[in-house]
Symmetry: C2
Subunit: 227 residues, 2 copies
């Protein structure tokens, strides 16, 4: 379903290079629930951006549902991103001049659905993450954890086949984190593939498989007993 072949990502910074990914071979099947852990700067977000079709590797191949992503043009990439993938960014990436509701609605606009349906769906997604009543607030009127939850709601709105979540509970207290992980677990049981980056072992234990990064390489890949 998701497979990478010897993936490399090299950033050139003036006279030195950063080898963010150094030969990643990863195979993730449909409906898996994978947690990725590893030190700061070890390449986790870089991999997520490539898996999310937001970035291209320097070398190597990425096949998503059998398609070689490097052969697709920008429009096809955008279509895949919008229809198949929900992305929760490490720094939320909310639009600051639109409300929580409008931020969550945004992915639906590309599908040309009726606007009335969109508003209902977005309201329900916000209510699911505990933000009922705050639909018309702007990001700078929301706490860090509330912004994070808007980002999560936005990633779920299109019923994507794959959810990529980068530190989705980094700004959430324990109880709210559990609520969010329960949502992810429920979605996974209904067939959605979930890949999440976390630095917290409690969060990683919700997944059925844990992958550990170090210096741009995968150094451990194990099945979790009894998530």
């Amino acid at each position: 379903f998701i497979s990478t072949e010897d993936l490399f990502k090299i950033y050139k910074l003036g006279d030195f290079e950063i080898n963010a990914l150094r030969g990643i071979n990863l195979f993730i099947e449909k409906s898996e629930f994978v947690a990725i852990m590893g030190p700061s700067g070890s390449g986790k977000s870089t991999l997520m951006h490539i898996l999310g079709c937001l970035d291209r590797p320097t070398r190597g191949r990425y096949l998503l549902d059998g398609e070689d992503i490097s052969l697709l043009d920008r429009n096809s990439l955008a279509r895949i991103r919008n229809s198949k993938i929900g992305f929760v960014f490490q720094s939320f990436n909310l639009l600051s001049r639109t409300t929580a509701l409008e931020n969550v609605e945004l992915p639906l606009l590309y599908n040309g659905n009726s606007s009335k349906d969109n508003i209902e769906k977005a309201k329900r997604a916000l209510s699911l993450v505990g933000l009922e009543g705050r639909e018309n607030s702007y990001p700078n009127q929301l706490s860090g954890g509330q912004q994070q939850r808007v980002a999560i709601a936005r990633a779920l709105i299109n019923n994507p086949a794959i959810i990529l979540a980068d530190e989705p509970t980094g700004n959430l207290d324990t109880r709210t984190s559990v609520e969010v992980m329960d949502i992810f677990q429920y979605l996974n049981k209904s067939g959605i593939t979930i890949i999440l980056i976390t630095h917290e072992k409690d969060i990683a234990s919700y997944a059925k498989r844990n992958i550990t990064f170090r210096d741009g390489k995968i150094i451990k890949d194990e099945i979790v007993p009894n998530p």
Copy 2:
């Protein structure tokens, strides 16, 4: 040293109000190490902004080192912020068009020090948080945890009397978090007052006192046995 009297913060959003702080009475002595926990949206960052002289309460008083902050004009507030307080923001607030080094140097410029000293100090602060070699990178060339560490280095650069850190390890793996908390512990032993917001019990246990928020109020305030 730090004392608040019946602090209120009320945000007006159209036809409803958010009571972010509902009567906070807090007394923190010099050189204390306090951790603040509580649900998302419970008022923690709002309190930190008032303590950091970045925001004013709607009602109530805030006395810092004996001075009533509400009586100070904008220039005096800026001077206190720059000389006495180091702030690590929940969303980092780095300047995107300046390098890591320049971001860390910024607080020093207000003190009119020699530029050669500043560069040395900033380099040492970045090295302390493990970012040696990345001085000339821009924030968008750094991982989430690397940006967080630049924000931490910037907060330490002026040798402030008080450090206010809002989720300083939210994007850091366990080992890097320990390195950061060791820095805070070391600074606290040398007399610096530290107030940090966290949602992780392991991080809160580095502090000698834990305060718990809920719905804009302090519901628990206890000394931690053996931090």
